[in-house]
Structures are given as structure tokens and as C-alpha cells.
Symmetry: C2
Subunit: 454 residues, 2 copies
């Protein structure tokens, strides 16, 4: 019997708009606050840091659909649509009655979903007359995507990469340099924020929060240069909704609709990207899909964090964001899923979680790699350690279906491949990987520095 495994869209069918969930969610996110005045943030407050169009998108709570600029859509066409794949081999290996689909965002030259927003942000920066762009990166998926997008639009890129990730995954900084970007390990001595962190703790190997501080400082002190963020913020997630909008059409081609949508969770952009276009059909009551964000057990802001106004970075340069957080000074363990080592969740996701419209699931590092190995050996794709958290959550749910006999339709986002993360697999195969636990007291201690909600 002929069973179609991959579903692709013609270029003409690629979405022409992104989906802005802020316009349709039952309770809007609380406003971000200006770090100085503590007043609700206006788009203009963000203009010195971000592309102006991105700043407007960030706070747009009225337009449910926002046009993708034609130039950006043309660049999307060089690698999109990405395949929706039915994971028959994984289903067989698990012996589950569930139907498992994944959206394969690893199939683009940069190897992850990150390029979807990098292209949009660099396009707007160029249009607005900028010459330079700077950013932070963890594992380096975002940094590689930004380095490429900057090259596409003729911008000079400077990337601060979390030092531990730079050491774990040396190939990624080489990729960024191949595209012409400058790369610095963070914390570095090239910014005040970096110097302060190193002075306080010379052995500190960084976090996304510290790298963000350095990049923002560079952007605000360099003419012609603005900052670009790879996740967390609402405009980044907006750009990523191309994933879910495509997936919706592709699931229809497969004749199914997901009962569950699963993605890994760092700052929320790949989760929101695949989830939000489906979630809007929950808002109308048309569907009752479950949404699961898989986070590392060692950095559990969704499952064990608190809803507070907190900074997005380690040095307190960003607006105060209403978010589930572990505290902006939280130092996550050195897990290989560098892209998930972030203390907070974006404001939209935080509101949705608060309202019970989605849930978090925490995955220990070893369970993520166990799932990654099953996936690699069945579907033939070595997943990124980040994406492996989504696979582990999928395996948990598929095995639950095996117990109950339910034929649930599960869709997860394979946000990236793991070819640059092979040292992590090597450690796993050698038995050197471990789980990291976070004590309640540790979380409480970091949260002491964070004001309770006003």
C-alpha cells in the first residue's frame, strides 16, 4: 500500500503573511515596562535597539495577520516549504497507535528554524539604513542564521557566543566566520557588561543572558548598528509562525489535524512558531489541541519558575518583561542543548501558560538523548540536542497512547539537526553525559533578585 511520507507545498502556496497571536489571545500579555521609568513600553522606546518595524510588531495587539515583505518571502523560497514528515519508522519502533508527524526545519542550509527570523530582521534593518547588526547566540544556530542573513542583505555582523557553547561546538563559530561574521566568546572583555561579569567570576562560561547584555551594549554604543534577538520576543515568534502556517496546510494534505503540538522551549520562538497558528483554532472552539513546550529539567522556567516582571538579560539592560522566570541571574547547568539555557519565557507564552492554554514538560538531559538516538536510528536524522527535548516529549506521549490505545495525532517541530553537536553524541555514547538537578532553594535564591509582580 502506498503511504506518502513527506508533504511539501508549491512556492505559490507558501504563506504570504505571518500570524500575530497577540491580536486574538483571550487575555493579552501584560505590557513590558521601561527599565528606567517603569512605565509601559512604547514601540519608540525600542527604536534605539531594534529595527523600528520589529519594535512595532513587538507591541502590535491588533493585526492578526502581518504581511511578509516580498523580498523576505523570496528568500524563504530558497529553502521553504520545509517538509512535513510522517514518522512511520519511529511509530513502528515505539509500537504506538499514535500518528507522529514532524515539521523538518533542519532542512535548510543553516540547519535550524532560526533563519526564518534572521532574514526578516536583517531585511528591516537594511531597509531602515543600518550598516551593522549584532546579536547573542548559544549553541550557535541563531548566530549562524544571523551571519548568513546579514550577508544576504549586506550588513556587517558581530556575534557574542556563550563561551561554554563555543567550546562545546567549535564548528558553529567557524560557520559564522565563513559567512563573514565576527565572533566573540561571551562574557568577553570587549564590553562593560562582559568585564563586570568576568571580574565577578573569572571562570564564568556565560549564558544567553550575559551574551544578550554584551550585544545590546555594542548596539547602543555603535552608530549604524542595531541589535537582533533570536527568540523570546514577540516579533521573533511572529516571524517563526511561517512554520505552523505551512504545517497547517501540510497536515490538511495528509488528511489529519493534530491532537497535540509539541516543541522544545528555550525562549519560545520555535514553540510559538509551530503552535500559535494551530492555537487560534482552539480560541474559536473549533479544535481542542494540546500544546506542550518541552524544556530541560535543568532550566525549568515553565514548570518551576514564577510569573514575575524580570529582565531579559543578565545585566538588566532590557525592558522588564512579564514572564515565567528563574531569575535573570540564574546560571543554568552546562547541558548540550545550549539554545535552551535561558532563564525566562516570552511574554505571550507566559500569558498562555498562566491561562492554562498550554503546558510545560521538563525533560532530563539523558532522556532527551535516549529519544534522540531512537529518532536517529529510525528516521535517519540526527537531531539537535534542543530538538531532542521535543522528541522525548513526543515519545512520552506516544507511549502513553500505547497504554491507552488512543490513535492520537502528534505533531512536533524538529527545529534543527545535530550534525554540529556530534561531540554531545560522542559523550552520550561514551556514557559521560549526566542529568543536572536544580534544587528548590537554588531557584528561590535567584528569584530573590527579582521583584514580585507590581
Amino acid at each position: 500500500m502506498y503511504r506518502q511520507k513527506r508533504f511539501l507545498l508549491d512556492e505559490a502556496e507558501l504563506p504570504r503573511q505571518w500570524y500575530n497571536i497577540q491580536a486574538e489571545m483571550p487575555n493579552k500579555p501584560l505590557p513590558p515596562l521601561h527599565p528606567g521609568t517603569k512605565k509601559p513600553l512604547r514601540a519608540e522606546d525600542l527604536f534605539p535597539i531594534f529595527a523600528e518595524e520589529c519594535a512595532r510588531q513587538e507591541l502590535n495587539q491588533t493585526d492578526a495577520f502581518i504581511d511578509i515583505p516580498e523580498t523576505v518571502r523570496e528568500k524563504y523560497c530558497s529553502y521553504r516549504s520545509t517538509p512535513l514528515v510522517r514518522a512511520y519508522e519511529l511509530e513502528n519502533a515505539l509500537g504506538t497507535p499514535a500518528h507522529i508527524y514532524f515539521k523538518n526545519e533542519s532542512v535548510n542550509p543553516l540547519g535550524s528554524h532560526k533563519v526564518n527570523s534572521a532574514l526578516a530582521q536583517c531585511y528591516y534593518l537594511k531597509e531602515e539604513g543600518m550598516t551593522n547588526v549584532t546579536t547573542e547566540t548559544g549553541a550557535g544556530q541563531w548566530g549562524a542564521a544571523l551571519a548568513y542573513a546579514a550577508r544576504v542583505f549586506g550588513l556587517e555582523a558581530a556575534v557574542y557566543q556563550v563561551k561554554i557553547s563555543m567550546q562545546q561546538k567549535p564548528y558553529r563559530s567557524m560557520i559564522m566566520r565563513t559567512f563573514g561574521a565576527t565572533v566573540e566568546g561571551s562574557p568577553s572583555m570587549s564590553t562593560r557588561a562582559g568585564k563586570d561579569l568576568i571580574t565577578k567570576n573569572p571562570a564564568y562560561t556565560g549564558s544567553l543572558g550575559s551574551a544578550i547584555s554584551e550585544a545590546i551594549e555594542l548596539a547602543t554604543t555603535t552608530p549604524g548598528c542595531k541589535y537582533s534577538l533570536g527568540s523570546v520576543l514577540s516579533h521573533v515568534t511572529l516571524h517563526q509562525t511561517i512554520i505552523g502556517l505551512e504545517a497547517e496546510k501540510q497536515m490538511a494534505m495528509a488528511g489529519e489535524y493534530p491532537d497535540m503540538v509539541i516543541a522544545c522551549f528555550g525562549g519560545g520562538s520555535n514553540f510559538g512558531g509551530i503552535a500559535f497558528p494551530f492555537m487560534r483554532h482552539n480560541f474559536t472552539g473549533e479544535h481542542t489541541t494540546e500544546f506542550i513546550a518541552a524544556e530541560p529539567a535543568s532550566c525549568p522556567k515553565l514548570t518551576r519558575g514564577e510569573f514575575r516582571y524580570d529582565f531579559g538579560d543578565e545585566s538588566g539592560y532590557t525592558p522588564l518583561l512579564p514572564m515565567y522566570t528563574l531569575g535573570h541571574n540564574f546560571h543554568p547547568a552546562n547541558i548540550h542543548a545550549g539554545g535552551l539555557r535561558y532563564h525566562g519565557a516570552g511574554v505571550i507564552v507566559s500569558q498562555l501558560l498562566k491561562d492554562g492554554l498550554m503546558r510545560g514538560m521538563d525533560i532530563p538531559q539523558l532522556e532527551a538523548f535516549d529519544a534522540a538516538m531512537i529518532f536517529a536510528r529510525t528516521e535517519g536524522i540526527i537531531p539537535a540536542p534542543e530538538s531532542s527535548h521535543a522528541i522525548a516529549a513526543t515519545v512520552r506521549e506516544a507511549l502513553r497512547c500505547k497504554e491507552t490505545g488512543e490513535e492520537k495525532v502528534i505533531l512536533f517541530n524538529l527545529s534543527g539537526h545535530g550534525l554540529i553537536d556530534m561531540t554531545a553524541y560522542d559523550s552520550y555514547l561514551s556514557g559521560d553525559l549526566q542529568n543536572y538537578n536544580v534544587a528548590d532553594e537554588e531557584i528561590a535564591r535567584y528569584l530573590q533578585d527579582v521583584p514580585t509582580m507590581p
Copy 2:
């Protein structure tokens, strides 16, 4: 104006047969000779080493099309069709009137075209009752593909990887191990062939020829185990014709037909894979396409080798093959394009070259990386060092079109991506890469060990 960039086929349109050029070429290849009796080889002579069906395909000079087994075609569907891409950005950067297309074989989970034959060979081995498979690999693209295919069909895989490549590209052996394969650096102490080579030269870091010797020895001394080759042989190239057969349909979608087809050349499988389905239209006089095989200047068998009966491996275990060769003891320089470090060309290509139906083009290492950088920074894909030779040849021809004003249609095969080869790019960016010249006397010396044609 809307310009389509990528062309893809529906699963239903994927070819159902491979193309066997042996049945249609004007002069058939001379017969391989049994290494013991020196008599023309029969398929049965190869049964102890290869899958029997592969041995029959190897010597089949009558059937122009050979059915792809349904199971293999189903596995192809998990990543095929691969995109045919119009390289608008590269054209712009070069300022050429040429239309440049590339077939993107890097877009599969293993990162290269190699999996097309690995799946076929492992399928036949399993069907014929084997439990184990062994092979050689250079840069590791083939080893990774075989490790995955063996896993798909439930075979145990043992891979001998050329020692220098193992050191240059450590991630590839990790990939093979992730799929469950055993990997040994070659020459190793685990075979007589390996021991002899190490004894003769303890510092020798291997070649594809030495790794082939070790794998064949393991296959012929292990019950239930056969050998699988990643290039050179006619049945491997047969499996790779899926590339050109797809490309033919995709070029028709784009409304063009190639004036030139270009591929890099190690043993000939990716070259034959994309070229042969187009070449048959030259045989009928319908087209006059040019075919260019891009080889490294440091391993120039097509442009400076001689047509002789020579061994396919370093220790003389294989049949004697009528091939353009530098001598089976030729030690190629340690260029990063490990997959092109092979002394000879397959028998079909050798005959075609002798008959003037194609040509070789030798590319110095630095020119290959110059071209790779242009390609990465325009098309956003970091190419494998092997594929970069095809890009360099394409750049040469496209710049020639710029001089003459000809709007030639050039199609090249992007056989793989270079994400596992980032140390090579790092060396290039640091200015540490060099060209290697081969003196005429060196080639003459190695050819002394090779008998002239009978």
C-alpha cells in the same frame, strides 16, 4: 517578476528505474579481469565479495533501465526528490549571462548523495541473507550513509575510515557510531593488509585504496559478511543515476536543458549519477551537452593518469580494472576533499573519457575553496570540499560565458554539504591551506608498478 528558484517532484513522479549506461554507450567498457586467472570476470566471481544482484548489475551490458526495488524506492521517498535550484545569487555575484542550476544532494539527513547507493546495497545484502556489511570511507560521507542504511535494514556495519580523514573530520566517525556502526582508522592493525602497510610505513595515514583492502579482507574472512563500495564500480554509479533522472524532469519544469553538466570526481559515482541520464541524449544525437568531471589537481587521474589495467585497491585484492589510473600505490596529498583522494576512475567513465565523450578538469585546492566561499556567501550553503571542485569548474565556465556573452545553461551536482568539514574552512580562513603539485616523475614512478594494457 516571480522567478521560481527550487524545483521539486511529487513522490509519484520519482523515477522507478535506474539508468544503465553500459547498455547504450557506443563502445562498451573492456572487461575487468580476475586478479588470479587474468580472465574476463564473470558475475559469479564477485559473489563472494558483493551482493549477488550488485555483481550482476556490475556486468550488465544489455538492460538500459533496471527496476528500483519498491522497498528502496520507499526509502528514497523519505528524502527525495532533492531540489533542483537555480543559483540566481551566484550568477549575480559572478556577473555571468550563464544560467546556473545545481542539484542539491546535500539535502538529506546524511548530507550527501552517498545514501542513494547505500540503501540499495544494504537492501540486496539483507534480501540475500547477509547479517554484516563492511566498507571503506574517506571523508566519511559514504561511511555515514552506509552506517545509516545498514541500520535501516538491520545489518551490522564495520567501517574502515582513512586515518587522515578521521583526524581531519572527527564528527563523521561520531555520526557513524550514532547509527550503531563500528569504525576503525585505516590502515589498522586488525587486518593483514593494514598490518603490512603499517609495517612498511608506520606514519602512513592511509588512502581509499588502503581502506578498501582492509574491508575486502574482513568481508572475505567473515561468514555472513559482504563488502559494499561507495563509488568507482558500475553498480554504484547505476544507483546514483536517480540524481540525473530526477534532474532531467526538473530541468524540464524549469523549461531548460543543460549545455554543460559538471560534477566533482573521486571514483565517479556522483559524476555518473548526474551525467549519464543526460549523456544518453548525446548518444542519439538529440543534444550535444558537454560533460566535465572536476578532480583535484593533486590527484589528477583523468587529466594526467594513463589508461591501464590496474587494481582498485592498494593491496591488489580487487579485479584488474581497465581504468585511467595514477597507479594503485599512488599516495595522494592530504587535501580536505577526502572523497576525491583515489587513484583511479571507474571503467565506464574511463571508456567515455577515452572516447572523448566527456573531459576532466583539474582544480587546485585553493581554487576549490575560493569557489566554495563565493557559493556559501551567495547561495547560503557551505559545500563539501569535494563538491567545491564542481563549483570551481562551474565558476570557470560561467566566467568564460561572461567573456563570450554566451547564455549557457550549466547544471552541477552539489554532492554534499560541508558542515562536518568546518576545520577545512577554518584553515582556509586562517590562510593555512595550500595547493599540492604532483610532479610528472612521481606519477611515472607509481605507474611503473602497473602493467601496460594487454
